[in-house]
């Protein structure tokens, strides 16, 4: 990867981290508020993000838009027949999301905001990921 490539993803990531903090999506309080159905804030953000994403992806597919390198954009479909994996894995993720009040993007953005304690959940998430890798063949999918 060339330097300009790194810079590109670094800038998009910076933009992402900035919005995550400014919108307070990274806030443990906002996640509590969401799961308690006390405010529209988080639903508005996720909902609007999906609507904008959906419209863009449909345009990209319909018009066969190519990426900046001239390659066709392909989006690999996910295997919906593995219902167990999505229900059980998703629920385990949800337990963690509510407990920690942060999903992977916010964990890193919070670290950047100066909360060095986030190194602990990030390390724990790596252990969790590795544990999944070890147990993968023994888990129902």
């Amino acid at each position: 990867m060339k330097f300009s490539e790194y810079l590109k993803y670094l800038l998009i990531g910076t933009f992402f981290g900035f919005v995550l903090v400014k919108s307070e999506v990274v806030s443990w309080f906002r996640i509590q508020e969401m799961f308690r159905f006390d405010a529209f804030h988080m639903y508005g953000i996720i909902g609007m993000a999906i609507i904008v994403g959906l419209i863009s992806v449909q345009i990209i597919k319909k018009r066969n838009v190519k990426d900046t390198q001239g390659n066709p954009i392909t989006i690999p479909p996910k295997d919906a027949s593995q219902v167990t994996r999505y229900v059980v894995g998703g629920s385990i993720f949800g337990l963690g999301w509510a407990l920690l009040g942060a999903c992977p993007g916010p964990m890193f953005a919070l670290l950047g905001s100066g909360l060095t304690i986030m190194l602990i959940p990030i390390a724990a998430a790596l252990v969790g990921t590795y544990t999944y890798g070890i147990l993968r063949d023994r888990l129902p999918h």
């Binding site: 993803y9 670094l10 998009i12 990531g13 910076t14 933009f15 981290g17 900035f18 919005v19 995550l20 903090v21 400014k22 919108s23 307070e24 996640i31 509590q32 508020e33 799961f35 953000i45 996720i46 609007m48 999906i50 994403g53 959906l54 863009s56 992806v57 990426d67 954009i73 989006i75 479909p77 994996r85 229900v87 059980v88 894995g89 998703g90 629920s91 385990i92 993720f93 949800g94 337990l95 999301w97 509510a98 407990l99 920690l100 999903c103 992977p104 964990m107 890193f108 919070l110 670290l111 060095t116 959940p121 998430a125 790596l126 252990v127 969790g128 590795y130 544990t131 890798g133 993968r136």
Partner: protein, 187 residues
């Protein structure tokens, strides 16, 4: 104008901007937006037990995404430190009352000091939130094949049924934790 950088952004501004990350990554490099894949890439970079799931060329697959994550740390620094909002979050009063009843005292920052400090790590509650919470996020994200960005935003943007099921799972787990388990943990 500079005020905008310090103030919190409303949902109708932040939501569309986050959604734009999806086409931006697709058009700029043909990449699918998803943060938790990076946890797998990092595991693959130091696969000490030679687990098959992590035996792949993580550099080719993940360099772009790991760079994206470094960017989000920088973005977090700019938004949360350089242009930090000095005011407490404008939470619903019912949420504040319910959390106060559970013993949360600090409502000043993005997260409560009661749980997110190095000294809180020494308490049972802090340990559970930070360590078990992190573990479940990492384990669950990989088990489900994605997290909030990969499934809820990218997957639903592509009308993937698998992602819809996963997102329903996210809420099942989240609601169980918030309503049934958290009150026990905080008591």
């Amino acid at each position: 104008m500079l005020d905008l950088l310090y103030q919190p952004w409303p949902w109708y501004v932040a939501g569309p901007i986050i959604g734009l990350i999806v086409p931006l990554l697709l058009i700029m490099g043909g990449k699918m937006f998803g943060v938790s894949a990076n946890l797998r890439h990092i595991c693959a970079s130091c696969n000490f037990a030679n687990v098959e799931f992590f035996n792949y060329d993580w550099k080719t697959a993940g360099k772009w995404n790991l760079t994206f994550v470094v960017g989000s740390i920088i973005g977090g620094f700019l938004a949360g430190s350089v242009f930090a909002n000095p005011e407490p979050i404008q939470l619903a009063s019912s949420t504040i009352a319910e959390l106060q009843a559970l013993g949360i005292q600090d409502f000043n920052g993005l997260v409560p000091d009661d749980l997110f400090t190095w000294s809180a790590l020494g308490t049972g509650t802090g340990l559970i939130v930070l360590v078990i919470g992190g573990f479940l996020v990492g384990f669950g994200a990989r088990y489900a094949g994605g997290c909030t960005s990969g499934h809820a935003i990218s997957g639903l943007s592509d009308l993937q049924l698998a992602s819809l099921i996963a997102v329903i799972g996210f809420f099942i787990g989240g609601l169980i934790m918030t309503w049934f388990i958290y009150p026990i943990i905080l008591s």
